[in-house]
Amino acid sequence: MPLTRIHDNAVKAWTLAASLYGLSWFIPTIIYLIAVTNLKAETGEAIFQNNNWWLFGGIFLITFLFYVATVFFFPRIRWRRWRYEVSEKEIDLLRGIIIKKRTLVPINRVQHVDTIQGPIDKRYKISSVAISTAATTHEIPALDDETADDLRNKISSLVQKVKEDV
């Protein structure tokens, strides 16, 4: 089983990302509010009239709870569950908040390795390492920049030693 954890800053970065992206969950409730409160100019009636505040409250509450969960709980759990290990023969990844997934990629199947850094990652000085095979791309998120670069170099040098064709 893989043991290495990803960087702690992952929690902060994911929290920030989720708190921004998660705002889009509120779009339906905002549209609802606009539809209920805005009055048509000519008739003076609301665009949507069969308003039920209980329904609205229910939807809002569910959205809000979901938002809180994705912002305050999921990043921490996700971080806690993420483990990886890169050895000379394989890349071993273990992750998953509810469904646990373990992935084993033989080193000689790796086509290329990238490091990726988004704007939020940059703020927290972390990068992801993306490992591409002929079939899919696997990503190890949130390693501090130096570790990510080292890991990328390590994998690519390991690959060169054992390189076979697709």
Binding site: E88, E90, R102, L104, R109, T133, A135, T136, S157, V166
Partner: protein
């Protein structure tokens, strides 16, 4: 073949036709909408201008497209405004397709597609050259690197001409393959497309008209009649599709590659090098399994945009009992390890329940919502239970020395053979319910087309998944010491 050459001028027309074919649906819709309304004449001008532009683009495209093979590298220069140079070395070539379309056939020409792996690289297509040129090109690109002297070249040429084994489809098998080809996916997509367009045609007026014309029809029988009609039509389409596609189907085994040729109107010839075969897949469809037949596919990493066509059909209709013989004859590296791992008893109820989740949580509520008799779907329960039971019975894993054999069922039963050194990754996943029972799903990924193909067996013992992991990375007892030795000691890592 060291000079840059142009294709046959027919390439220009084939390009024009390709443009028309790609935009066929759009054109049809535009014809209906634009051709009739006011300002219809402007539409026709636009159409004619478009076609003329496409025609000249085709001619210029042909003029600017040159290719050559030099040092085992296919070089293509193309592009009217944006020039591009495409260089494909023969070591990177996965599959070579040679197609004779209707247009090409009239001029004795063929289309050559050279496919490389991965989504980054495009496949190179030469759309019209003579058959002899294509054959020469193919031989050139399939030659071994090491053999360079003239002497050996000729010897190689001779070797190449020898046909080792071959297999032809019989007329009877072709017809059976066509009859049993009922493609449920196609039927579903046609049903979906029609129900999307339904609103235009299904209104009170039309319905009343229909009822008056067809006495004895009510709502339900009309719906059933329409569905039956669609099933029959799509079955006919897929029947004809199979006849056209797999007529004269022939597999030839050569020294280093398989050659598959087939087709009635559009003849296709695919070259699959043995060392490019990622996996072999035998699929016993619902209609075929009762007769003991199935379809054999080969997976290759050749780039293919259309994900449905990325697998290469090796035999369209093959008896299950002939599979072993066929593999021995044509694919030496693929033997069939004995099945030694099965889902445990404790997974049985999970297998039985899984198809029912779909029925009770998605299909039934959905049908009930839209149709008052939707609850009758509950009578499908015995079928879903039977499906779950079959899935449990069919799930099996065999671990050989250099090969993994997996059998599982979704609707059709699939048997996959994947070589160890062609496995892209193995993934196991387990949800909290599975964790309690210590079972996991096992997914094995092989490369296919521009991405992968996954083979999944549900609810295996965790120990069995671990066993597969260990098998994949070789004996792995002292992995800990290897890992610690790695960073500081490159010699140890190199071995």
């Amino acid at each position: 073949m060291s000079e840059f050459k142009r294709q046959h001028p027919v390439a220009a027309i084939s390009r024009l036709l390709a443009v028309i074919r790609q935009n066929f649906v759009t054109l049809l819709i535009l014809l209906f909408i634009g051709g009739t309304g006011s300002g219809g004449e402007y539409f026709w001008y636009a159409l004619i201008i478009g076609l003329v532009t496409a025609f000249f683009a085709g001619i210029f495209g042909w003029f600017r497209f040159t290719y050559r093979v030099i040092d085992g590298e296919l070089q293509i220069k193309k592009g009217i405004l944006r020039r591009s140079n495409l260089y494909l070395s023969r070591e990177r070539i996965q599959v070579i397709d040679i197609t004779e379309g209707l247009l090409q056939r009239m001029f004795g020409l063929v289309k050559v597609e050279v496919k490389t792996a991965g989504s980054g690289t495009e496949s190179a297509t030469i759309s019209a050259i003579t058959r002899e040129e294509a054959e020469q090109l193919r031989l050139e690109l399939r030659k071994r690197r090491s053999v360079e002297t003239e002497d050996n070249k000729e010897k190689e040429q001779e070797e190449r001409e020898i046909e080792y084994e071959s297999w032809n489809i019989s007329k009877k098998d072709l017809v059976y393959a066509a009859i049993t080809s009922g493609n449920f996916g196609l039927i579903a997509s046609i049903l979906g497309a029609i129900s999307g367009q339904m609103d235009q045609f299904v209104n009170e007026e039309n319905l009343n008209y229909l009822y008056s014309k067809l006495p004895g029809f009510n709502n339900i029988s009309l719906v059933i009649a329409v569905i039956l009609f669609i099933i029959v039509v799509s079955w006919l389409l897929s029947f004809l599709g199979v006849i056209f596609k797999y007529s004269d189907f022939k597999v030839e085994k050569h020294e280093k590659e398989l050659l598959v040729s087939s087709g009635l109107i559009e003849r296709k010839r695919i070259t699959i090098p043995f060392d490019r075969i990622q996996a072999v897949r035998y699929v016993e469809g619902v209609l075929r399994q009762p007769f003991g037949y199935g379809m054999l596919y080969v997976e290759s990493a050749g780039f293919e945009q259309n994900s449905k066509e990325r697998s290469i059909v090796l035999v369209p209709y093959l008896a299950a009992e002939e599979l072993t013989g066929f593999l021995n004859q044509f694919l030496d590296e693929f033997d069939e390890p004995e099945y030694d791992t099965f889902p445990p008893q404790k997974s049985f109820m999970r297998y039985i329940r899984r198809p029912n989740y779909l029925l009770f949580l998605v299909l039934l509520p959905g049908a009930w919502l839209f149709w008052s008799y939707g609850w009758t779907l509950i009578f499908l329960t015995p079928l879903t239970v039977a499906l779950g039971w079959l899935r449990y019975k069919d799930a099996a894993l065999g671990i050989g020395e250099s090969l993994l054999r997996m059998r599982y069922r979704v609707l059709a039963r699939t048997t996959a053979l994947v070589r160890k050194k062609r496995i892209q990754h193995i993934e196991s996943s387990c949800n909290p319910f599975q964790r309690r029972k210590n079972i996991e799903h096992l997914k094995v990924m092989a490369a296919s087309g521009s991405d992968g193909i996954a083979f999944t067996i549900n609810d295996l013992r965790s120990e069995d998944c671990d066993k597969t992991y260990k098998w994949l990375i070789g004996t792995h007892e002292n992995s800990e010491s290897e890992q610690t030795a790695l960073p500081g000691n490159p010699e140890a890592a190199g071995r």
